[in-house]
Point group: C2
Chain length 240, copies 2
């Protein structure tokens, strides 16, 4: 009998935003797996979970999740990246083959830009019968909207979520959608801000950094934001 | 001292998808408020919560949330709808003015199409000093993706969320975005399906009905869906 792999969204940072299900499965799991070498390292996911559930005595696996890998370069078969991915796959399968259940922790919600899904395809390719349960979590998008006191959409509103690391169609999207969420805005904030100013959308914008974490910042006036103060967990929500 | 109004996302249906914070605040609240006259009535929100937290002895307020009200018709001041909204505002303020904390329950996440936000503006207009805390929850969008085992976005992917009750720009959006989530697809499913067929996106689509609820259905092949079997809590996720 193969063990079950539970992929658990632990929410955006506030330990109380773990779901009851996340807390229960983590409590029941003897082995936790966290991605290594991600922004802020794996310590962030564990430090959040630790405040809600005791992890004493559990085995912690830090798995390599190379950043650059995407589904579209699947064919770059013998690269360094692929070696690291295979290593991670083997570590996880090693446990599951022994019948050990494994809880894989992801920040926010697994479906929203979590690199776990690169692994998911690979695991199912090797073991189509594998039991993988995905436990949704509170996404940083929803948490940021809550902290800023704004709705992402009402009635017939159209919502767009963009990674914000390319500016190509931003203007068109801002024109066509009622709400535009610009994730990971830290590297392009100044460009974004000047586009929003040009489109007279400054009053409709709010910048949220590290929603729900202890050092959360909310800028209701985005003109007060300095790009160099932002980090990976920053987003701008434009609400028309 | 005014009481605190906590607006609580209770998740999409599975009682275990309540957050620890939602469960705690509901436990601590003497008064729960649920919207009345919504799809499936207020009983749905209460029946979900009941399975996770005892609500014995709590006062339950069923507040009117007229469906058609939108921010843009604010000026229709003396309509029946406005009377009902004012009634709801008064019931809520009545409790808060007595210093009683109130937990307002919303399905999914409050920021995602919850009518609470119509009320939010009105409450803050009357009482700018009001303490309103919004507790984010697991949105049905994230839960549906988890249940279907698909990612909403990876890397630089662009995600669009549409209410799906108008077809106007659907083709353009399907062309421009990597993932398109069509909410409340029940009334337009056949139109959507034939557009997806025309765009050769049938293989990229999955239909999820009532994710996380006891009668959840997942259609990996959308050609097997019959529109009349779908209800309000149905969505199609198109993932290119």
């Amino acid at each position: 009998m193969l063990g079950t792999l539970s992929v658990i969204g632990i929410g955006p940072g506030d330990p109380e935003l773990l779901t009851l299900k996340a807390a229960r499965i983590i409590k029941e799991s003897k082995v936790l797996c966290v991605p290594k070498g991600r922004e802020e390292g794996s310590s962030l996911a564990l430090s959040i979970v630790k405040k809600a559930v005791s992890i004493d005595g559990k085995e912690i696996i830090e798995a390599h999740f190379p950043m650059k890998k995407t589904r579209t370069n699947k064919l770059a078969a013998d690269s360094d990246l692929d070696d690291k991915w295979n290593e991670t796959v083997e570590v996880i399968l090693g446990k599951l083959r022994k019948g050990i259940d494994l809880a894989f922790l992801t920040l926010g919600d697994p479906a929203v830009y979590s690199t776990f899904f690169y692994l998911y395809d690979k695991l199912l390719e090797l073991h189509p019968e594998l039991n993988i349960e995905i436990i949704p979590g509170v996404s940083s998008v929803n948490a940021s909207a809550a902290r800023a006191g704004i709705s992402l959409g009402l009635g017939n509103d159209r919502i767009a979520v963009l990674p914000a690391n390319y500016m190509d169609n931003l203007k068109t999207t801002l024109e066509a959608f009622d709400t535009v969420v610009l994730m990971k805005v830290n590297k392009v904030f100044n460009e974004v801000a000047s586009m929003l100013a040009g489109m007279k959308l400054v009053e409709n914008s709010v910048c949220i950094s590290r929603a729900g974490m202890e050092d959360e910042k909310i800028f209701k006036d985005i003109r007060t934001v300095r790009q160099e103060e932002l980090n990976y967990f920053s987003m701008v929500i434009v609400r028309k």
